[in-house]
């Protein structure tokens, strides 16, 4: 077996060649003959009644082909929520309709109420300005507390702004309340988990094509999961039969959650392509991305940690308001609940956990899963309150965590928040981390910083997350409206090369390189002879796509299962060719041999035989060598880790500089360590970005103040250090065939509390009585906090 491209090899990425030479093909790079262009008319008020839209003048503008308004979509469905949450009282959540184009009311700045299709983009934009629109502005509901408190209604028909009021686990509530009441020490922290804009560098884009001869549609779109998008459009929104709709997600320039969801623009271009019988293209500007991509986070939380005097944890109790924005996006109800509340026991043996989450409608852009999705919010709350408790108790923050860690001999461990952790070793990660950051040298570095007029702080953090959300049977009981398996088809071609069709979608994760490593390792052949096919519903089996760090754990497992079927069948063919019993056939280094003999045939010879089945036992074995597997995991996977960083604070300006950052992660087994490290790096930058610079700010009227890179700060190269990353010696996942856990979100989950803990440490070292500062820790906020 050529180990240099099998499991565990840091194989460089084959997809890089096209990206490095400008040959990548992203949605906006695709131009279809005869295409027209769509431009949307978007609300400039956060809440308003659409009194009238007169399209006459716009239709008369040069190049205009069609104008659509909400009226055109009243007969079709809405974009649905993918997860039903029931409130504590048993009532189902409120699900107001989310139409293709706003109808009756606009509900956030950027809400599209019309679209113009014209020969050119500029003509369409000119015509949008010619629409005669009367929108009566209403007071906007922006702040969650006022939205709950009886402000203006975002959706009149549901008579409340509270989508649901969820308790987890409701049966634990009384015991948790009692434990906190009687606890010797309770630390209480109120915090804000700041709203973020995912900001994939490629803005969303969709181009639709319609073939009147066959009544078939093709949608090229920036999606992390083309099959899910097709299902939503087909089953819920436009009703186009799935066998008439092909969804293609070509090269996609990052997603981070924001491209999981179906958006109205996709439905609009499809409808327009059919009406005009020509392709219709739309590409978002960055401003549109800010106004309409699903945002992330936006929780306001009160968390209490009850503990014994010696630091033994007794209970966590959390009350959270989670902003869902003006409409429910596809996973927006799952994110603050089952991806957040279930993680509220952290890495700890705490016996009592209770979480209350109120999801709140406001006149802002929809909020949904963004890198980490719920787990960053959980980790931030837990790890901030632990750090605060350590200070109050006068304990070392690492020792306090270690004291309460689940120990390696306790797995499988049933957490007080209802999950069963399968494996982990949190002390081992913390050991590694302490060495990585040279904790012993910290005092000297702090002294050196102080000599230079700076304050230095050390922050630590431990996290656990849940990836590869599953199994379908369980999530169905919990309210999921989709299955959470994935699928793969392994097609061995006649001359021995392979096409592997996967449900996962790669938009930076390197699947085209990593998945072949798995198959090559199993078959003992060169990875270069294996190609991954993804992103096209016409080519791939029905899989759920890529999000939640699930690709390898779920889809990779499907690849393994399908490859196992290939091996089983190939062994039968080889047995026939070698005139042996298939039980005696061994596969090694791409050769099928009869155990204990020197008789063998190569993998390529078996493949050829499968497709040219002369002298073939046709009555026992079908020709061909192609297998499909659907894999539905038995449990989540549970990546975990320990992070630390050192920051310097300039007390004169409040500016925070990250001097060093170390991440010790447990991702189980590793397929390609180079790619895994890259995933951690990216997650860290997004988490550090959340902690220090990124913030989404609406004013009281619902205007988005941070609607461009002039005001929404994206972390730059000079904001960040080189990171130390170690994910060696992980504890394998016990329930998937690769023993892998997922690595895509860890960095974004573990880093925000690490940074805040470090900054608080720095400020306290300078004599500032600052217990907490809300993210992002911009210079202005830190300086203001230091003023007392």
């Amino acid at each position: 077996m050529p180990k240099d491209n099998g499991i565990g090899a840091a194989t460089t990425r084959r997809e890089d060649i096209r990206f490095l030479t400008g040959e990548g093909q992203y949605t906006d790079d695709i131009n279809l003959t005869g295409q027209a262009h769509a431009v949307f008319a978007r609300s400039d008020v956060a809440n308003g009644v659409i009194k009238s839209i007169d399209t006459t003048a716009a239709m008369d503008m040069p190049g205009v082909l069609a104008v659509f308004t909400g009226e055109d979509f009243t007969e079709v469905g809405g974009n649905p929520a993918g997860w039903l949450i029931n409130s504590r009282d048993g009532e189902p959540m409120k699900e107001p309709k989310r139409p293709v184009l706003a109808h009756g009311k606009v509900r956030h700045v950027g809400d599209a109420y019309a679209a113009v299709i014209a020969e050119t983009k500029q003509q369409a934009r000119d015509a949008v300005e010619a629409l005669e629109v009367e929108i009566e502005e209403l007071p906007a509901v922006i702040d969650m507390a006022s939205a709950i408190g009886g402000g203006e209604l975002v959706h009149d028909e549901i008579e409340t702004n509270v989508c649901f009021d969820w308790g987890w686990i409701e049966d634990n509530r009384a015991a948790t309340d009692e434990a906190i009441k009687n606890a010797p020490h309770v630390t209480t922290l109120e915090l804000v988990n700041n709203r973020l804009v995912p900001n994939a560098m490629e803005p969303r884009a969709s181009t639709a094509d319609y073939n009147p001869g066959t009544d078939e549609y093709t949608l090229y779109t920036t999606s992390q999961n083309p099959h899910l998008t097709r299902l939503l459009i087909s089953a819920f929104v436009l009703g186009i039969p799935e066998n008439k709709l092909r969804v293609v997600a070509p090269d996609v320039g990052g997603g981070f959650g924001s491209k999981i969801y179906h958006y109205g623009e996709e439905a609009l271009v499809l409808a327009a392509a059919k009406k005009l019988k020509r392709p219709v293209k739309w590409t978002a500007s960055r401003t549109e991305a800010f106004l309409t991509d699903a945002h992330g986070r936006d929780h306001v939380t009160k968390i209490e940690l009850a503990c014994e005097k010696d630091g033994t944890f007794i209970a966590f109790r959390t009350e959270t308001m989670a902003n869902v924005g003006a409409y429910l996006s596809n996973f927006s109800t799952a994110t603050p609940t089952f991806l957040h509340g279930t993680l509220m026991a952290g890495n700890y043996t705490v016996p009592n956990v209770y979480v209350n989450v109120k999801a709140v409608f406001t006149n802002t852009a929809p909020v949904d899963a963004y890198r980490g999705a719920g787990r960053p919010e959980a980790t931030y709350s837990i790890e901030r309150v632990i750090d605060m408790a350590a200070r109050e108790l006068g304990m070392d923050p690492i020792e306090l965590r270690r004291k309460n860690f689940i120990k390696p001999d306790q797995y499988p461990f049933a957490s007080a928040a209802g999950l069963e952790y399968d494996s982990g070793n949190y002390d081992a990660q913390m050991d590694k981390l302490e060495a990585m950051i040279d904790r012993d040298g910290f005092a000297a570095r702090r002294a050196e910083s102080e000599k230079n007029g700076k304050l230095r702080g050390l922050g630590v953090n431990a996290y656990i997350e849940a990836c590869g959300i599953a199994p379908s049977n369980l999530v169905g009981v919990l309210g999921s409206r989709v299955g959470l398996y994935d699928a793969a088809t392994v097609r061995v071609n006649a001359t021995g090369n392979l096409s592997v069709m996967v449900g996962a979608h790669s938009h930076g994760q390197g699947h085209e390189t990593a998945f072949p490593q798995v198959v090559a390792d199993m078959l003992g052949i060169e990875a270069e002879s294996i190609d991954i096919v993804h992103g096209d519903t016409a080519k791939i089996p029905f899989g759920m796509g890529t999000y939640g760090s699930r690709s390898l754990a779920v889809c990779g497992s499907a690849v393994v299962r399908a490859t196992e079927k290939i091996i089983a069948k190939a062994k039968k063919i080889a047995a026939h060719m070698l005139e042996a019993s298939d039980g005696d056939i061994e596969l090694k280094d791409g050769q099928f041999s009869v155990a204990g003999t020197d008789k063998s045939v190569s993998f390529g010879e078996v493949a050829l035989k499968a497709y040219i089945p002369h002298q073939f036992p046709i009555e026992d074995i079908e020709p061909g060598l192609e297998e499909t597997a659907f894999y539905d995991p038995a449990n989540f996977t549970y990546p975990s880790g320990a992070y630390a960083c050192e920051v310097e604070v300039d007390p004169q300006t409040g500016k925070v500089t990250v001097d060093r950052f170390a991440a010790a992660d447990d991702f189980g087994n590793i397929i390609n360590p180079m790619i895994v490290t890259g995933q951690v790096h990216g997650g860290l930058a997004q988490g550090i970005g959340q902690a220090l610079v990124e913030n989404t700010t609406y004013d009281e009227n619902g205007q988005l103040l941070s609607a461009s890179y002039m005001d929404y700060c994206m972390p730059r190269a000079d904001d960040l250090p080189f990171y130390q990353v170690d994910h060696s010696d992980g504890t394998p996942c016990t329930h998937n065939p690769l023993g892998v856990k997922g690595c895509g979100e860890a960095g974004a989950i573990g880093s925000p509390p690490t940074i805040i803990n470090a900054v608080v440490d720095a400020l306290q070292s300078g004599g500032h009585d600052v217990a907490h500062v809300d993210m992002p820790l911009t210079p202005s906020r830190v300086w203001t906090a230091m003023q007392g």
Binding site: L20, M714, R716
Partner: protein, 161 residues
């Protein structure tokens, strides 16, 4: 409409443009050189960086007419004559300096401009120079490392796989 002509990646090209046609639009739509990407409206993300007369510029913040007669270099012209990756491109692959690939053309073009003016930049100099190029995937670690490696510096001490 006006006629413009320029040299792009060594070839003379011409086309009809409006006054408002951006250089990035002319490259992408007029010449089908879609490797130059557009990621923002405010001249900050740098996905559109190309070389005009040897200097890095943001092609989404320059009109095509202003490039009339100029020598323009884009990502499509960066590979070696035999089609193999040039030193910077190869370093990006070797050091995993890209993920989704969308910012990559701009990064490579900026890196080339940096190394032309500063053949052995320090880590801090690379980071500072990339102020106008935003990447959302990599956290910059491997981009900085790749550029330093492309300059011939030993990067083996920089943590990574």
């Amino acid at each position: 409409m006006a006629q413009v002509s320029m040299t792009v990646n060594g070839k003379t090209v011409s086309g009809e443009v409006e006054g408002r046609t951006l250089l990035a639009e002319f490259l992408r739509e007029g010449l089908n050189l879609t490797g130059t990407h557009i990621g923002c409206d405010t001249s900050q993300c740098g996905a559109c960086v190309v070389h005009v007369n040897g200097e890095a510029v943001k092609s989404c913040t320059m009109f095509a007419m202003e490039a009339d007669g100029a020598d323009v270099g884009t990502i499509e012209g960066q590979a070696n004559a035999d089609g193999s990756l040039n030193v910077i491109q190869q370093a990006f692959q070797d050091h995993h300096g890209l993920q989704c690939g969308f910012c990559t053309p701009g990064m490579v073009m900026s890196a080339a401009a940096l190394l032309k003016e500063n053949p052995k930049p320090s880590e801090a100099e690379v980071r500072t120079y990339l102020e106008g190029n935003i990447c959302r995937c990599t956290g910059y670690h491997n981009i900085v490392k790749a550029i330093m490696a492309a300059s011939g510096q030993d990067v083996s001490a920089i943590a990574a796989e």
